[in-house]
Symmetry: C2
Subunit: 367 residues, 2 copies
Amino acid sequence: MIAAASSGTTGPTRLTRTMRPDAVPFLEAAAGRPAPHTPVWFMRQAGRSLPEYRAMRGEGSILDAIKRPDIAAEITLQPVRRYGVDAAVLFSDIVVPAHAVGFGIDIAPGTGPVCAEPLRTVADLDRLPELDAAGHTPYVLETVALLARELPVTVPLLAFAGAPFTVGSYLIEGRPSRTYEHTKQMMHRQPELWDSVMRRLGQHAVESISGQLDHGAKAFQLFDSWAGALSRADYDRFVLPYSTAVFEGVAARHPHAPGIHFGIGCDHLLESMVAAGPSVLGLDWRTPIAAARHRMGSDLIVQGNLDPALVLAGTEVASAGTRAVLADNGAHPGHIFNLGHGVQPNTDPDVLAAIVDLVHTMTASTP
Amino acid sequence: MIAAASSGTTGPTRLTRTMRPDAVPFLEAAAGRPAPHTPVWFMRQAGRSLPEYRAMRGEGSILDAIKRPDIAAEITLQPVRRYGVDAAVLFSDIVVPAHAVGFGIDIAPGTGPVCAEPLRTVADLDRLPELDAAGHTPYVLETVALLARELPVTVPLLAFAGAPFTVGSYLIEGRPSRTYEHTKQMMHRQPELWDSVMRRLGQHAVESISGQLDHGAKAFQLFDSWAGALSRADYDRFVLPYSTAVFEGVAARHPHAPGIHFGIGCDHLLESMVAAGPSVLGLDWRTPIAAARHRMGSDLIVQGNLDPALVLAGTEVASAGTRAVLADNGAHPGHIFNLGHGVQPNTDPDVLAAIVDLVHTMTASTP
């Protein structure tokens, strides 16, 4: 359910009156409660856009870095130190669970996830066993535990996983796709196999997220990055049940951890994505915040949604865009500021720093 | 203005009563009038998916084939003969005008449009003079004239052009892009240069389409394929005025030629795309036809919108999808059947043939 704790609490005076003294901005906003300021984090805030990351990492696969808890924790902390963001997000990748159970998927530099043998038949499911987070991905849990000790209490760690559709599209296509032709073929021609793949990947997501929450993460995001390639009818039939199962499965083990549901170009699917059961709806720049609340309720808690291309255009353009996002939100307490997509590798970190400062300054509540 | 000639004319009996004896299905549907059957054509129906095309063409640039009227006309006719579609669409490309005026853009096989020197400064505009259709693209006009003589009267030829934004994005990025970062930077940092580029490309579109209509084309489509990358606010400010000018410019010279406005992933922009002034709104599979009419008026005339990935899944899946599109349209006279995107190169032509037959059979009005 996405709803502010109470409606009508949008004026700054009222915000101040109801704020907890020990408020963690991210967690307050994710619950629709007034916060000391609007929290900010950036999808892909860690990694390639940071010089300190490039200085540290060699040419190896990103999966190698993810498997080294000391390195993965340090990479996760870099943007927290540099920007003063209000959340850390685990340095990892949505294909880690499938890779860890031995499916045979790698991340090719400059291309993305690739499988030598894509998932096309029932027999291929044998290569995709259930995930045991402690057994298959001990390094992830160790990284999370390290971060839970290192991070200030005001900066929660976010767990994440790929949603069954988006992870499945990589396994089935075997590489990034624009058409999703094999994925859509499986939906329509082998619906029983599709169902099995989605259930298995749903188990991966629940187990992966729950493992991270067990070890100190405080909230999570489910990335269904490419769901926007589907019609609403196909989404509702072939994706929604399995993403709903992920939110339900996590809630059964961690009823108080807020979950964010996010995809790119999903404006036509948002009502269904809310129906899957997140606490917070992630928006890209195609959906104005006010329009989302007009459609789905004035108490909708949202994350987003500055166009990352505006960040590439420099501080002046990015700041104007940031002000427009804040104005679009209209001082609603249920807003987590973010970009509408991941940070581009060629982003200037100084522009992101300016955005964080601007959001914090413009939304700071006066005591 | 997009509106059926009269409302309430959706029952088959009434359709028959009001139909003209010499009705051209495409033109009747484009005007919102009852037609002998729902017309069908496919974006990219000519070209790579057809064995007769592959047999004819060598390894040369597609631009070489476009410059040979005998070859371009033959390629345009191939799908008309094979499928019995209700419209022919000129075998050409949206970058032809920019190429023809000497900008320096080519089509790289497997990549798409590429420019060695992208458009980034005012000085680059010198390489993009106004288009004179007869002077710069005599081969296009000759191909059109050939086709106007060859085609049966019931199969109109469609002219087309790229919209200023989409053509501009190729010139500015220099290659296909997923982020449109240079394009969006120019919008926000060099709005005067952006304005000049859009006006120039709008002149190209008007001149190109009008030239084709002068020589025998009967209708046209403006492709703004990638406009969906923009927010509605950016679309309205940086794109809509220039696309509106294209529809107005063509209408001034050809007031009776219906125009179709189409883009991919533009569900969040459709009201603005209608405001630009087309006769017909092209939909991709993300927007149900009934939803579009609910939003924009029950008399909206639409084109679309079968997911081309379903065509790749074989005749059974494609036929089920076709029936769903027809049911979604609800026997409204203002419907031109198409895919929601271009035909994929690996499409089986037999599946497209089955779709044409199915649409014709299911929508045939009884005399």
